[in-house]
């Protein structure tokens, strides 16, 4: 049982912020992660989905992510980009607070190795959408949210796991809504956990409009991506670990296209 709870706590927050899978923290339990992410690329996916060359675009981001068990079936989740610095070579650089996200995750059902959950997240416009002539924003500038349902299963006698989730992304300010999805397969080998991640956003409608088009920073209308790649966790001690992920991109629109490296340090109880 203790091993099961330990694995569950490690599973929290493995994927993108506020998308840690359908396993809830126990009441009073928590997971918190400080992360750094870097992207450097000279490719832009246009809103048509074509990849074109641009001056080098870079993004550095430092963020915090947390999950906290409120009751046996309810967990609070949230994340905040404390600083997001983006730059386009020979144009400009800008840094600022990112958008914050707060939400709740309900454990709907648990049966044997299976678990079902639903999550609602509200995104607050705490970032600055005007930075760098609005081409280097640190946030979308509008209220957003998503409702997601997910299913997970424990594999290989508790030494592995898998989950899938999908839901509806709501965007304010006339930005178009879309489908959000994610999946993960992972396996423990001693103090190391190895993962394969997939996640993405697909707007329902991608026809051009005269709305603000966003930029390489990825907050604009019709932003589309499918991110996939490996992840690695090294347990340093009880409830303490290091995490590294590589996010490769495919099926992109209206966003800089490249590989993001993420490094994180987490604590959990």
């Amino acid at each position: 049982m203790r091993r099961g709870l330990g694995l569950a706590s490690l599973l929290l927050g493995l994927c993108s912020p506020a998308a840690g899978g359908p396993w809830n923290a126990p009441p009073g339990g928590y997971y918190a992660k400080a992360s750094y992410a870097y992207l450097g690329t000279d490719q832009l996916a246009t809103p048509l989905g074509e990849t074109v060359g641009i001056p080098t675009f870079s993004r550095h981001e430092g963020s915090l992510y947390f999950q906290y068990g409120l009751t046996a079936g309810l967990m609070a989740v949230g994340d905040l980009a404390l600083v997001r610095r983006t730059a386009i070579e020979d144009f400009d650089a800008a840094a600022g607070f990112g958008d914050g996200r707060l939400g709740l995750q309900w454990q709907l059902r648990r049966s044997g190795p299976w678990v079902l959950a639903a999550r609602g997240v509200l995104q607050l416009p705490t970032g600055d959408e005007t930075l760098g002539e609005a081409l280097l924003p640190s946030g979308s500038g509008v209220w957003e949210g998503e409702g997601v349902a997910g299913a997970g299963v424990s594999l290989w006698q508790g030494r592995g796991w898998a989950f899938v989730e999908a839901g509806y992304q709501v965007r304010g300010g006339g930005l178009r809504d879309g489908l959000v999805y994610g999946a993960q397969l992972g396996r423990r080998a001693g103090r190391v956990l190895v993962m394969a991640n997939v996640r993405g956003v697909q707007p329902w409608d991608t026809e051009p409009s005269d709305l603000s088009t966003g930029s390489a920073a990825g907050f604009g209308d019709r932003t589309t991506y499918l991110v996939f790649g490996p992840g690695l966790i090294l347990e340093l001690g009880r409830g303490l670990g290091l995490q590294a992920d590589l996010d490769c991109m495919a099926h992109t629109r209206n966003i800089a296209r490249g590989t993001t490296l993420r490094l994180g340090l987490f604590v959990s109880r």
Binding site: P47, V52, D210
Partner: protein
């Protein structure tokens, strides 16, 4: 008493209708106009483009602008009638281009004829 010289009014030398490029949005008309002895590029009241930063109005030999093309400055508004002064009739340029200088991409263009 001298007889006032009648204002000949603007003369449209060449004009075009914008089309969108790279999935961004641009529509409406533009014209190179001679008026009162000078020339200017007129974006007509039907003009609209994507609300993006770092947009410029350029006259270019191709839809992908490069060195030697004419930069008329930052776009004054994302929609509606606006004018950009020209030194001459700019006859050597084939295209009016709405150009994003940050990523070096056209958001829209029109071939002058």
């Amino acid at each position: 008493m001298p007889t006032p010289t009648p204002d000949p009014g603007p003369t449209v030398l060449r004009e075009t209708t914008f089309q969108s490029a790279n999935g961004y949005f641009t529509e409406g008309g533009a014209a190179i106009v001679r008026e009162q002895g000078g020339h200017h590029l007129l974006l007509r009241s039907s003009f609209r483009t994507s609300q993006s930063g770092a947009l410029e109005v350029r006259l270019c030999g191709q839809t992908q602008c490069g060195p030697g093309d004419l930069n008329l400055g930052d776009i004054k508004a994302y929609s509606g009638r606006q004018q950009y002064p020209l030194g001459d009739d700019a006859g050597q340029y084939r295209f009016v281009v709405i150009w994003c200088r940050a990523v070096n991409l056209p958001f829209g263009f029109g071939e002058l004829s």
